[in-house]
């Protein structure tokens, strides 16, 4: 029996586990992958403390097909960019969230048509129009309604959010939030700690008996 193949071997073409393994993220740590073919850790400076990941808008995939345009609108709705945000701040599209389609760690490409189709069906049912013809608030309503019937969509939304708020492909979202990213440590800056007891303690050891 070739258990080596079973254990470490080929990734199934479309597999829920592979999808989730790669697409969902945990609270304090996990975010979406770097876009390895275009933005390796070394190239973006993230592998060395003290560097800031550069913004590389040119690395973003541009939507060219109908399906991709629908997904770009999905991204724009989950994290609105300058077209929707009155502040003109960047959003999911500018964070290259559409690069999920090209990331070989994710089956988004394989799911793309199905995903676009689900959203369009929901849009037609709710408003009688395709998703692309809806206003922002209508699109948001469609996404909220769609996840009620298909819980896995929450993972898709998380993946898109992670591109922006987690800085998966570039730093526009991190910059927007004021997150400095890699650093050499904050130990010596005043903001690092109150440097005094701020609460009474129950134990003298740090743990209960």
């Amino acid at each position: 029996m070739d258990h080596a193949k079973q254990v470490k071997g080929e990734r199934p073409a479309i597999d829920r586990r592979a999808f989730l393994y790669n697409a969902c993220i945990w609270s304090a740590g996990a975010v979406m992958a770097g876009f390895a073919t275009r933005l390796s850790g070394d190239e973006c400076g993230f592998s060395s403390p003290g560097f800031t990941r550069p913004v590389l808008p040119n690395a973003c995939i541009q939507a060219t097909t109908e399906t991709e345009r629908t997904l770009a609108l999905l991204v724009e709705t989950v994290v609105p960019g300058p077209e929707t945000d009155p502040d003109g701040a960047p959003g999911g599209v500018e964070s290259c969230a559409l690069n999920l389609l090209a990331d070989d760690y994710y089956p988004f490409r394989a799911y793309a048509e199905g995903l676009a189709s689900i959203i369009n069906v929901q849009a037609q049912g709710d408003f009688g129009k395709p998703f692309a013809d809806l206003a922002y608030k209508q699109r948001l309503g469609v996404l909220v309604a769609a996840q009620e019937s298909l819980p896995i969509l929450r993972m898709v939304y998380r993946a898109i959010r992670s591109a922006f708020y987690g800085g998966a492909y570039n730093g526009v979202g991190l910059t927007y939030l004021g997150y400095p990213g890699p650093n050499l440590g904050y130990r010596h800056i005043p903001e690092a700690s109150f440097r005094r007891a701020v609460c009474k303690e129950l134990t003298t050891t740090g743990w209960m008996s």
């Binding site: 258990h3 080596a4 079973q6 592998s47 909220v144 690092a192």
Partner: protein, 479 residues
């Protein structure tokens, strides 16, 4: 077939500790680790998933509701733990489930574990954080408790001269957070233990008086080794999976393997600090933000750790406001503006940990891959409600606001899977005896989180480590 005295699967706390103790006896020890041998320079300050796939495997439950992960890489979970090393309160060892069953063996108590905890503390240089080590987010959390007239304690860590960079859980890039690669593993190697990385164990097989371990090596080539004594320490997700894949080759496997899955009562609580409160600077400092409150332990059997948070945290949690306040969905403009307005100064995260029944189950699918399920039953619902009640009390009494962290209620699960091959007194309910030996197969021991029979009330790493020391000592004396 290559033969060793002892083969150990996994190099986290459950694996590296017995490796050292058994190598110290002069036994020929092989440790198989599925991840890589990583050094400090391999830990990028990057929350991106691709960087982290070297550090852990992650899964969601069958209904996509619960997220779980376990560490990989030489040193296992110690590479990515937030490094709070706390002894479990005595009451955790006395916990009884809804049927009245005492999940911990009567012979394993806090008092019994204390000398083993001390051993680990000495090995890993564990000490209490000073108040200067407590980052602002932890300080703000402690201030909330102080405002309530409650207590909040500084936590114990194996961290020396922390630079407060905020990347403990992606592997400390400055080598300040001690992991097993700083202590147990090099000492075991000095004593002759061999650690092979990139080796993913598929199944076990009875082989004469011992066992064959079949694995895929770093080149993805099938290999086999044998030993008379076998220790499984591949995590509470992977250890049962190895057993379950071995069913055709290990007759009479205990039927409770994979059951009783317990997520240590982890529930994510996020607070919006009151207006005018000091700034939290959420991304500064150690990821476990320096303090824990035991103030709710006596009444609710819940502790709460303060946590710091990179923005990725708020991408991963479905953080929304309740009571009709916006954002009520974690999507769109209102959510974006809410984060912009409140991160990093007013949003602080925390992790509640408590005692709850383990009603989940780990299984393997037709491809032999791990699956798990944590049913949202009445017990779990009641527990989460209890935790949320504590969170709401903190909010109400301090002027803070508790945010919901998942679509249903509060995110639970995450990083502390336990009990899937648990030890216990009852031979029908617990696959392992109190010494960690699986009842159905002599000389196979389980020493990781899988054998910890129930919630630990605090981060479980220290208890897993102490229990591994205890079982290792028993093996050295009895086998």
């Amino acid at each position: 077939m290559e033969a060793f005295d002892v083969v150990i699967v996994g190099s986290g706390f459950g694996g590296s500790i017995p490796a050292l103790r058994l190598a110290g006896q002069g036994r020929r020890v092989l440790v198989l680790e599925q991840g890589e041998r990583l050094t400090t320079k391999d830990f990028p300050q990057d929350w991106g998933f691709r960087a982290q796939t070297r550090l852990f495997n992650a899964y969601t439950s069958k209904d996509y509701r619960v997220f779980m992960r376990y560490g990989k890489g030489l040193g296992g979970g110690s590479l990515i733990y937030a490094a709070a090393m706390l002894r479990s309160p005595s009451e955790a060892f006395e916990f009884r489930d809804k049927t009245g069953y005492r999940v911990w063996p009567t012979s394993v108590t806090r008092q019994v574990l204390d000398p083993y905890y001390a051993k680990v503390e000495a090995m890993m240089h564990i000490s209490r954080a000073s108040w200067a080590d407590v980052p602002k987010a932890g300080g703000c959390f402690a201030m909330l408790l102080d405002k309530m007239g409650l207590t909040c304690d500084r936590t114990m860590y194996p961290i020396v001269d922390c630079l407060q960079c905020g990347f403990c859980m992606t592997g400390c890039p400055f080598g300040k957070k001690k992991h097993l690669g700083h202590n147990y593993i090099p000492q075991a190697e000095t004593l002759g233990a061999e650690f092979r990385t990139g080796c993913k164990v598929h199944h076990l097989e009875k082989d004469g008086e011992g066992y064959a371990v079949h694995y895929a090596d770093v080149h993805n080539v099938a290999q086999s080794v044998r030993s008379d004594l076998l220790i499984l320490a591949a995590s509470a997700l992977e250890s049962p999976a190895i057993f379950l894949r071995s069913k055709p080759y290990l007759s009479g496997l205990h039927p409770q393997v994979g059951k009783n899955f317990n997520q240590n009562g982890d529930v994510a609580l996020v607070f919006l600090l009151p207006e005018g409160f000091p700034k939290a600077y959420g991304y500064l400092g150690r990821n476990n933000a320096g303090v824990i409150t035991y103030a709710f332990w006596d009444e609710h059997r819940i502790t709460i750790h303060a946590g710091a948070g990179p923005p990725a945290l708020f991408a991963a949690l479905d953080v929304v406001r309740e009571g009709g306040r916006k954002p009520d969905v974690p999507l769109g403009l209102e959510f974006k503006h809410f984060l912009k307005q409140n991160y990093p100064d007013r949003l602080i995260s925390s992790l509640a940990i408590g005692l709850v029944d383990g009603d989940g189950e780990v299984s393997v699918n037709s491809q032999g891959l791990v699956e798990f399920d944590v049913p949202m039953n009445e017990t779990l619902k009641a527990y989460i409600d209890r935790v949320a009640g504590v969170g709401r009390r903190i909010a109400q009494e301090t002027g803070a606001e508790l945010l919901r962290t998942s679509d249903e209620s509060f995110e639970h699960g995450d990083a502390h899977p336990l009990a899937t091959v648990r030890m216990g007194d009852d031979a029908d309910r617990a696959p392992c005896d109190p010494n960690g030996e699986i009842r159905s197969h002599r000389n196979i021991f389980v020493t990781d989180g899988a054998c910890i029979p129930g919630g630990t009330g605090v981060n479980p790493a220290h208890t897993i480590a102490a229990n591994a020391e205890r079982i290792a000592e028993w093996i050295t004396q009895n086998r």
